[in-house]
Symmetry: C4
Subunit: 192 residues, 4 copies
């Protein structure tokens, strides 16, 4: 089965998720810059989620590079990932509109955690389908980032009751971790 | 006529339908987890409809694999299917916001029924276009699932006045039926 | 210049336009079928506009088949067409929510008229780019439908003050005219 | 790394941004043409932003033509551009709903400025990746438009406190500048 349509569909869903979040930044009634002040947390949440979705799209893009055939279970693991990512606009909106208060911060972390788990499952399915010496397995290597991220999300969720700003910082740290260029897959694919 | 654009357009519409449903899950005003309680039925409806649309995308994906040329009637049969699928977000929203009460449950079933009929028509058009020994006909075989599903939807619609939970269970049963891997088309295509 | 991206972008915009219209069908507050009664005109408008956008997508699909290279003016003629089509959801919504009253009917007709003109311009640009014996020119032939449609729209706009139902009927007539299979381009392309 | 998915994703996001702006043109309650009067500035803002996004899509399309391999930094420079473009619907809405008053005009200009800077960064990344005699560098040449536009935006932002109409005119001038056919890239690519 061809992977082209899986990529096209994932691209479509990710493109819509990323753009739908903008709808949360609602046009204010006043016409002064000061009327935009209330939107600052909504805007900052948007920036963070935009970066997260960019990272997911990027990693998804790379991972699919190693894939040749898409089986039924990979299709569903992919849809499962898209499901959790589709909840990011909601979590982002709740977080932004409540000015990063405790429980919305925890829910945001939970959504990121679930998406990370779904990504992990998808990755494992693909590795399994490629056999022992599969391309993706080599490319991922020890997958330190992939293992640390869920722990940091969990920590962030727990800390949100102590200090929402601390948990927010943790979510930013994970994003920065992934933004640091990680060319493992690129290198392995180039070698082939 | 090339099938690429038909697939791309269908992917686009399905991706948007799936993502538009998330907009029904409106950010609540409070900042406590308890403020999310009212959203539970909306969320559950979303999960069910997401799975249904995933199944449709999956099956559509498989079915189009057997197609080489797309004629005018297949194009319109496809648009007809997309029309009914495009009503799923509305039916989902009505069902979720009314906490799975009788009449919204019936409408949801009706929408699923109409989509199933449209899928059936599209399938028949493709089979017809492929002639007697067509690939899709072989792949579909007896099409037990395809024939049972509409009956279960009908039953669900009827039962919604007796017990909305019963009809809800029936809709879940149909989804599970289709989720069980069905590799008929994959096998037949692989054999070629 | 490659036509692939022009098709992909047009597909994307058309897919979103068609799906955004569903958002006009707002989930009602009550949970009875009778609460849906107010949505009937909105639903009927949606059906008509869905068919129109389906026709445009279909014809666009066919027309682009004859194109090999896309120049700057074709790109802009295409964007111009998408602009008018993007206003259909608004015109549809206004028409549906006002129960097909006179002035919304006229605006709907005007939007269809402008889209038809934009399509005509795009078609001419493509014909011009293909030279005297171009494929599209042959395929279009006398283009009776293309010339009658604007007249019927104009008539519909004028009649909307007399009887909105009459102008509505005219818009339906044009849609039916285009729905009748028109395989000119298919034939000419197949001959090549 | 293949550029196909980058183009597809960018097309998707641009298509959604362009179409989401239509949602700002909200269906009015009355059924008279006079009820549409309040929408005129919203409509005019939509036209201007539609043209701007069309120009971006067009230029993006051309620029990507010269690209063969997409590296990680180009991917992120592209996402960065999409981020600023995704804010255009918000800036457009604020400008339209406040009838082109001073501060919304400044914000609109600022959004255009940031998008222009992001485009410039993306362009530079691509030029760098192509080496000294790269295709894009030749095609761009002196890039007069690319250098004048930010200055005109800056002027427009500054003038918005003096006369919003003047800054509006400047934004229109920049759009017209880019609409004038600019076939540099087309020519250079055709020469190869």
């Amino acid at each position: 089965m061809n992977k082209g349509r899986v990529e096209a569909f994932s691209d479509g869903v990710l493109a819509i998720i990323i753009t739908i979040m903008v709808l949360e930044i609602k046009v204010p009634h006043g016409e002064q810059f000061s009327d935009l002040k209330g939107l600052v947390p909504v805007f900052l949440s948007y920036v963070l989620s935009f970066i997260y979705l960019g990272i997911y799209w990027n990693n998804h893009h790379h991972m699919m590079h190693t894939v040749k055939h898409v089986s039924g279970d990979i299709l569903w693991a992919n849809l499962h990932l898209l499901f959790w990512l589709s909840l990011i606009p909601f979590a982002t909106g709740w977080m932004g509109e409540n000015n990063f208060s405790a429980q919305p911060m925890a829910l945001y972390g939970l959504t990121l955690l679930m998406a990370a788990m779904a990504y992990f499952i998808l990755q494992n399915r693909i590795i399994k389908s490629q056999g022992k010496n599969g391309l993706l397995k080599k490319a991922i290597g020890k997958d330190v980032k992939g293992e640390i991220s869920p722990l940091l999300y969990l920590l962030g969720i727990g800390l949100s009751w102590v200090s929402p700003w601390l948990s927010g910082s943790l979510y930013i740290v994970v994003a920065v971790l992934w933004l640091i260029p990680d060319r493992r897959i690129e290198h392995i694919v180039a070698e082939q």
